[in-house]
């Protein structure tokens, strides 16, 4: 379970998160939508401690992420994250990209790591690209590799930050399919996305971010069909 309690965060004078509270239960898929600059990415980075927070707290399975004694390197093994782009390590092959953390972080042997990585890469449809460098992959393949790489660590949670928004339209589908598969397997996910149809279909809940706050949160049905707040309706109208 991820518990976010009244989290505030500023970059200098700019208050980006103004008191975010949200709980994500095991097995849940929560989509996060909202205009650019509303603090969606920042929130994801706070969840795995890539960004510090100013006040409030975030608990992952009861461990307070920003507490002094927390071993973030250990905590992060449970939380996979995929970014919009520049996920790949360009000097490593697809297989090496996927095994490096298995070997260096989890201390697995090369053959163990290879086995796990190959299984995950096949799972996302990259079984034939093991020896290829990321530059030879399409954007969609790179994103699927990043997903496989995160999954290889057997995380309990997956965070996705607009993973399809840098892709050519014809490549979006394959990445969404991979995420759909993951959701159907019961992975707990927070998905920041502009793909409204996807959010509507896959999520248990949808959170609308506006100006550093969760402006409205509810079932996809409620958010997309009968939003309570006028700003939610206006945002949906602007993107649909």
């Amino acid at each position: 379970m991820i518990e976010i309690e009244n989290v505030k965060k500023s970059f200098g004078n700019l208050e980006v998160l103004k008191g975010i509270s949200m709980t994500v239960e095991k097995g849940e898929v929560v989509s996060v939508i909202g205009g650019s600059g509303s603090g969606k990415s920042t929130m994801l980075m706070c969840i795995n401690g890539l960004e510090p927070i100013d006040s409030g707290r975030i608990l992952v399975d009861g461990t307070e992420v920003h507490a002094k004694g927390t071993d973030l390197n250990k905590l992060r093994r449970n939380i996979g994250i995929v970014f919009q782009q520049w996920n790949a390590f360009p000097h490593l092959t697809v297989l090496e990209n996927t095994t490096i953390a298995l070997r260096k972080v989890l201390g697995k042997s090369r053959s163990e790591a290879d086995e796990i990585a190959i299984k995950q890469l096949k799972h996302v449809g990259l079984g034939d690209k093991l020896k290829v460098y990321p530059s030879r992959l399409s954007g969609g393949q790179q994103q699927r590799m990043a997903i496989a790489r995160a999954l290889a660590m057997s995380p309990k949670y997956m965070l996705f930050d607009e993973v399809t928004s840098a892709l050519d339209p014809q490549l979006v589908g394959e990445v969404l399919d991979t995420m759909r598969l993951l959701a159907s397997e019961g992975m707990t996910m927070i998905v920041v996305t502009h793909e409204m149809a996807f959010a509507r279909e896959v999520s248990n809940r949808v959170a609308f971010f506006r100006d550093g706050l969760i402006h409205e949160i509810g079932s996809p049905k409620q958010i997309f069909e009968s939003p309570e707040r006028p700003e939610t309706a206006a945002f949906l109208k602007s993107v649909l």
Binding site: N87, F89, K104, Y133
Partner: protein
């Protein structure tokens, strides 16, 4: 030899000088690169109150002419009673000078790795140092290598300045022969130039080869 009055003895004398040139270049690059990596890592992650004085100090090393640095440091060490031989003084001063350039090269290389790539590494549970070792340095090296090769070739030519503290390296040994045989000046200088070239060429070829190899993956 070559129908001239240049003897094998002269050539051997020059080769000894060339050996010294190489040795000084080697130690200066080794020391300067190691120190530059440490300083570059510090600079890439330090707050301004560390970065500012450190940057100023390294700027001094980069802006004061090497000749002056050799002479100043040599006088300093003899006043301080360190009894360093001129060869060691040359290596130390050139290493310090090299480290100042290398620091900026390393800092630039680290800065060229996209923040997201580093966050991706950290998000897989890698520690700061694992990220540095397995992701940032290998990627940064591709950016750093051309400048580093350039620095190596520059330092090799700069070794000529150690004549000021009495080390007889390649250029100085050539000059000594020229004072004895002024009419052979052109031939002697041509030989010295050829030696510099023969040493530099493989270094720059190696650099070009690595760059090409890496570009094929990118």
């Amino acid at each position: 030899m070559f129908g001239t009055s240049i003897t094998w003895g002269d050539i051997t004398f020059m080769m000894t000088g060339a050996g010294l040139t190489l040795a000084i270049t080697f130690w200066a690059m080794l020391g300067g690169t190691l120190a530059g990596m440490v300083f570059g890592l510090i600079r890439a992650q330090s707050p301004w109150y560390v970065n500012y004085p450190m940057g100023a100090l390294l700027d001094v090393l980069r802006s004061v002419p090497l000749l002056i640095q050799f002479i100043l440091f040599n006088s300093f060490q003899s006043i301080a009673g360190l009894n360093m031989n001129p060869f060691v003084v040359g290596c130390v001063v050139l290493a310090a000078y090299t480290s100042a350039y290398c620091t900026e090269i390393v800092r630039g290389g680290i800065g060229a790795v996209p923040v997201t790539t580093r966050k991706a590494a950290r998000s897989l549970g890698m520690s700061y140092w694992q990220d540095m070792r397995y992701i940032v340095l290998p990627l940064g090296t591709r950016v750093m290598l051309p400048s580093w090769i350039g620095l190596t070739l520059g330092v090799m030519k700069d070794t000529a300045l150690v004549y000021a503290i009495g080390v007889i390296e390649l250029l100085r040994s050539s000059q000594i022969i020229i004072t004895r045989k002024p009419h052979e000046a052109l031939v002697i200088l041509a030989i010295a130039g050829l030696i510099y070239f023969l040493v530099s060429f493989p270094v720059s070829r190696l650099g070009a080869h690595l760059e090409k190899k890496w570009r094929e993956n990118d």
